[in-house]
Symmetry: C2
Subunit: 246 residues, 2 copies
């Protein structure tokens, strides 16, 4: 067996998410279909993060066990010919047999993009959530700082979450502003994320931005009080898995 | 009659171009459909530029004669509710009865975007032409400078062009590089453009970039020699009508 990892980017629009499903086209399904052609047998892949329907990736990582070796230099181009245009393999790498795309990951970086133009920017509509109007950036920065560090994020996970421990560390919650492009971007870097955690965090931060929630309510939610301070779940199109760090 | 102008942006992917057609969905068709709902009667619009199938716009301008006045502040939002998500009206303005979206235009600005990453960037694939590999930027700059000014661009028009005179002035042919985003953009500002002129110019510039054409061949093509130096027509997805200046 030749364990191989792939770095993959995709436009999640129109896909039923990363994970394979019976009744929807998925990223995993498309990748496995292309790999089956290349290796002439069905293969199962494991992803670093199971992104939801409509969520994108610039640097998703997957691994699989190949029945034979193919040059890592040639593999991306060979797969890209077979894949739909919205899924692009950026890199392939032979890895150790104990490498695991999800369990070996040390950190993940997600971005969440907001289109701040008065009317939606057509070229961003697949990759940003359109949120015009008043926005208190100072309050959001304050709230974002409260999220950094090691906390119990139980209030920020969706029901049906399989995680045992809900303690996670956020190393970084940045807010980047691109005024020329009328774009605002949240960056989350953490050792792991609960189910829908980023979108729930963004949902809360957006309420803070619209002055419908005090920054202090975020700290209270982390302390287990006021779980109603968490969310709502921000729409999927703004979210992107930027990078997985091993 | 209330002559009204609209500033419109669109993602041209999947549309049969700006101009109304029988067998394809077009930008004009979609705009006229939405206007007919608002004004409760069929209206005809005139655009500043008839962008081809797959070509985009950030600042297309159209005009039409409305049977009654609607607040220019409210009109964009009312139209955007009716339009598909890839077409967005940015501004409405009451204009003089002799204003003409195309004939009153003094200048137009087009951009052409190249994705220079080794594999296509999924989030740019609708709005940039993927061209990896060696590229002689210096030679392209030299060739671009030769295009600036007033010339007979006959060599750079597609067959079936309705224009009588083929003399046009290019005020500016810029090349912008965004190395962080692996993006290269050509900007063309001119008093008017022949049919497919920008895409033919880009086609020539790309041949210069790949060192398959000397910059001097561009000057020769402008002088009427070597018409084979013009083109080929660069693919539509890189092209965007940025702005119309009146």
């Amino acid at each position: 067996m030749h364990r191989t990892s792939l770095e993959v980017s995709y436009d999640g629009t129109g896909y039923g998410g990363f994970q394979i499903q019976k009744n929807a086209s998925t990223i995993q399904g498309e990748l496995e279909k292309a790999l089956a052609v290349i290796y002439k047998k069905p293969l199962r892949i494991t992803g670093a993060g199971r992104t939801d329907a409509g969520v994108h990736a610039r640097g998703q990582v997957v691994h699989y066990d190949a029945p034979f070796e193919i040059s890592a230099v040639r593999l991306p181009a060979a797969l890209n010919v077979l894949l739909p245009s919205g899924i692009v393999v950026l890199k392939a790498r032979p890895v150790a047999p104990d490498f695991h795309a999800c369990r070996s990951a040390k950190r993940k970086v997600y971005s969440y993009s907001l289109d701040r133009a008065p009317y939606p920017q057509v070229m961003r509509r697949r990759f940003a959530y359109h949120l015009p109007g008043a926005f208190n950036g100072q309050a959001v920065k304050k709230a974002a700082q409260l999220l950094e560090g090691t906390h119990d994020f139980q209030a920020f996970q969706a029901a049906g979450s399989p995680s045992r421990s809900t303690v996670r560390t956020l190393y970084r919650v940045d807010i980047k502003e691109y005024p020329d492009e009328k774009l605002l971007q949240f960056i989350f870097e953490g050792d792991g994320f609960l189910y829908r955690m980023v979108r729930l965090l963004v949902g809360s931060l957006l309420r803070v931005g619209r002055e419908r929630l005090e920054p202090a309510a975020i700290a209270a939610a982390l302390a287990g009080d006021y779980p109603q301070a968490a969310g709502p779940t921000a729409p999927p199109q703004g979210l992107c898995l930027e990078k997985v760090i091993y």
